[in-house]
C-alpha cells in the first residue's frame, strides 16, 4: 500500500515540480535565441553538422564578413539614424501632448483621447499603400527622415498615453506654486513635470526605439538600396542567398543586441510598459 505523503513532503514535491515546469518553459524560451547566436559563431562545417556540435570553437569569421563586405555600415547607420530620430521626436511631441491632455480642459478633448487610443491599434500594413502613394506624390520616398517620421507617428499614441498617466500622478500643488511664482506653462512643464516623469520618459524612449529599430514592412516599402534598415537587409539576405546561415544569423544577432541590452538593464521599465494599460487601465 502507498503510504500517504506527509504535508511537508507534498509541499517539497510541489516545489520540485514547479521548478521542473519552469525550467522546461525557460529552455523553450531561450533555445531559439541560443541557437541563433551559436550558429553565428560557428564555422560552416560546425553549423551544419549532424549530430550537432554542442561544443565548438567560436569564430568571428561570419561577423567579419558581414561587417566588411557589402553595405552593412550604411544599413546600420540608417537603422540608428531612423530609430534615434524617431525616439527623440516622438517622445518630445508625446510629452507635450500628454501634458495638454493631463492638465487642461478643452473642447474636443474626449475625441482626441479616444482617437489616440484607436490610432494605437492601427496595423502598420494598412498604412503601407497610402503612405507609399503620399510620399510618392510629395517626392520624399527613400529618405531616412521620411521613414523616421512614420515611426514618430506610429509611436505617438502609446507615448502620449503612457506619459499622460505619469503626469497625472504628479501632485498639482507643485505646478500651482510654480505658476504663482510667475512660471509660464512651458516653464512649469520643463522644470517641474519633465524631471518628475523621468521613469515614464525612459519607458516611452525604450519602446519607441525598439519598435523603430525592429520595424520591417514600412521600411521595406519606403526605402531603397541606400536607405534601407537592418531588418530589411537581413530579410533580403534570407531570400537572396538562402543558405548562408552563418552570415544571416550574424546580422540577426546584431539586430537583437539592443533587445538583449534593454532586457538585462531595464527589465523593470519594459514590464511597466508592457503591462501599462491592461493592469492599470
Amino acid at each position: 500500500m502507498m503510504p500517504l505523503l506527509t504535508m511537508k513532503k507534498r509541499q517539497k514535491l510541489a516545489m520540485v515540480l514547479r521548478y521542473v515546469f519552469i525550467i522546461v518553459f525557460a529552455a523553450f524560451a531561450l533555445f531559439p535565441i541560443y541557437e541563433m547566436v551559436a550558429t553565428s559563431l560557428k564555422n560552416e562545417v560546425d553549423a551544419f553538422s549532424i549530430p550537432p556540435k554542442w561544443v565548438f570553437l567560436p569564430t568571428f569569421k561570419n561577423y567579419q564578413e558581414v561587417l566588411f563586405e557589402g553595405k552593412f555600415f550604411t544599413y546600420f547607420y540608417n537603422s540608428i539614424f531612423v530609430a534615434l530620430t524617431a525616439t527623440v521626436l516622438s517622445v518630445t511631441a508625446g510629452a507635450l501632448g500628454a501634458y495638454s491632455l493631463a492638465r487642461f480642459k478643452f473642447k474636443g478633448k474626449k475625441l482626441v483621447v479616444l482617437g489616440t487610443l484607436l490610432m494605437r491599434m492601427v496595423p502598420p500594413v494598412i498604412l503601407v499603400v497610402p503612405i507609399f502613394l503620399l510620399y510618392n506624390q510629395l517626392g520624399v520616398t527613400n529618405a531616412r527622415m521620411s521613414l523616421a517620421l512614420v515611426y514618430v507617428a506610429l509611436n505617438l499614441p502609446f507615448n502620449i498615453w503612457v506619459l499622460r498617466t505619469f503626469i497625472m500622478e504628479v501632485p498639482k500643488e507643485l505646478e500651482e506654486s510654480a505658476q504663482m511664482d510667475g512660471c509660464s506653462h512651458m516653464m512649469t512643464f520643463r522644470r517641474i513635470i519633465l524631471p518628475l516623469i523621468a521613469p515614464g520618459l525612459s519607458v516611452a524612449s525604450i519602446f519607441t526605439f525598439r519598435i523603430s529599430w525592429n520595424e520591417f514592412i514600412l521600411s521595406l516599402v519606403l526605402t531603397n538600396r541606400n536607405t534601407r534598415t537592418l531588418p530589411v537587409a537581413v530579410s533580403l539576405y534570407l531570400t537572396d542567398t538562402g543558405t548562408e546561415w552563418g552570415k544571416i544569423t550574424a546580422i540577426a544577432t546584431i539586430i537583437a543586441i539592443p533587445a538583449f541590452i534593454f532586457t538585462f538593464t531595464a527589465a523593470k521599465s519594459l514590464i511597466m510598459g508592457l503591462t501599462a494599460g491592461a493592469v492599470k487601465g
Binding site: A29, S100, L117, P123, I271
Partner: protein, 294 residues
C-alpha cells in the same frame, strides 16, 4: 484681460499641436486616402495615370475570391489558436512563478527576452530551427524516435509552425500581465481563504481566477488585436506558403499591392482589416473603462 484668456485657451492646443499635426498627416490622412482608394482601380505600374472609379467592385471581387476567403480562414485559425494557447500557457506559467519561488525575478526577466526580439529575427531564427536537414527540431524528433516533419514544406503543418513561433514570442506577454494581476490580489483575501480551510484548487477557482478575470479578458483582446495585425514573422518564415496555406489577411494585402500591383483591391482589404480591429479595440476600451469603475 481678453488677450490673457485667449492665451489661456490656446495653451492646451499649443502643447497638443505637434502630436496632432504628425498623427493627422501620417495616420489619419493615409487612412482616409486608403478608404477612398478602395473604390478605385489603380495599378502600381500605371501609377502616373489617374485611378478609375469602380464603386464597390473591389469589395465584391474580394467576397467572391477564393484566395481572400482562404486568407480570412487562415487568419481566424491562426488568431484563435495563438490566443487560446498563449492565455492558457501564460496563466499556468504565472501561477507557477507567483509566489515563494527563489529566482522568480530572474525568470521573469528571462521571459521578457522573446517579446523584445525583432519579428524579422524571430522569422530568421525559426526558419533555421525548422530547416529540414540541419534544423534542431527535426534532429530532436529523430533522436526521440519520431519521423522527420516538413515544418515549412507541408501545407497541412506550416500554419502550426507559424503558430508555434508566435506562441514562443507572446506567451511571455500573457505571463507578465497575469503575474501582475495575481500579485495585485489583496493579501487578506487569500489569507481569509486559508483560514477557511480552502485548498489550492478552491482558492484558484473561487478567488484568484475571478479576481484576475477582467485583466485576463483585456489581455486576450490585446493579443487578439495583435494577432490580427501580425505579418512580419510569417513574411519571413513562410511568405504565406506553401501555396497559400499560411497567407494571413495582412500578407494577402501586401501581396495584392506589391505583387499583383492592385492598389485599389489592396486598399479594400485594408479597410476590412481596419474595421475588424476598430471593433475589437472598441471592445477593449469599453472593458477597460469597466475595469476602472470596479
Amino acid at each position: 484681460m481678453s488677450s490673457l484668456s485667449l492665451r489661456q485657451k490656446s495653451t492646451p492646443l499649443m502643447f497638443l499641436l505637434p502630436s496632432l499635426v504628425i498623427m493627422a498627416f501620417i495616420l489619419l490622412v493615409p487612412i482616409i486616402m486608403g478608404l477612398r482608394l478602395s473604390f478605385f482601380e489603380w495599378l502600381m505600374r500605371d501609377i502616373s495615370k489617374e485611378p478609375t472609379f469602380v464603386g464597390l467592385r473591389n469589395y465584391i471581387e474580394l467576397f467572391k475570391s477564393d484566395n481572400f476567403r482562404t486568407s480570412v480562414l487562415v487568419t481566424i485559425r491562426f488568431v484563435l489558436s495563438v490566443v487560446v494557447i498563449e492565455i492558457v500557457a501564460g496563466l499556468i506559467l504565472a501561477l507557477l512563478l507567483e509566489s515563494g519561488l527563489k529566482g522568480m525575478r530572474f525568470f521573469r526577466t528571462l521571459f521578457v527576452l522573446p517579446i523584445m526580439v525583432a519579428p524579422v529575427v524571430v522569422g530568421v531564427m525559426w526558419r533555421f530551427m525548422y530547416n529540414p536537414s540541419y534544423g534542431k527540431i527535426n534532429y530532436l524528433l529523430t533522436q526521440l524516435g519520431f519521423e522527420r516533419v516538413g515544418w515549412l514544406s507541408n501545407p497541412d503543418i506550416a500554419l502550426t509552425s507559424v503558430i508555434i513561433a508566435d506562441v514562443w514570442q507572446w506567451t511571455p506577454f500573457v505571463f507578465l500581465l497575469a503575474l501582475a494581476a495575481l500579485q495585485g490580489i489583496p493579501k487578506d483575501l487569500s489569507d481569509a481563504a486559508v483560514v477557511d480551510g480552502a485548498n489550492y484548487m478552491q482558492k484558484l477557482l473561487r478567488i484568484k481566477l475571478p479576481y484576475i478575470a477582467s485583466i485576463l479578458g483585456v489581455t486576450a483582446i490585446l493579443r487578439l488585436i495583435d494577432a490580427f495585425r501580425s505579418l512580419v514573422v510569417i513574411f519571413n518564415l513562410t511568405y504565406g506558403g506553401p501555396g497559400v496555406s499560411t497567407e494571413v489577411m495582412s500578407l494577402h494585402l501586401y501581396k495584392s499591392a506589391f505583387v499583383s500591383q492592385r492598389l485599389g483591391l489592396a486598399s479594400a482589404i485594408a479597410v476590412l482589416l481596419l474595421l475588424l480591429i476598430v471593433i475589437l479595440s472598441l471592445g477593449l476600451i469599453v472593458s477597460n473603462l469597466k475595469n476602472k469603475e470596479n
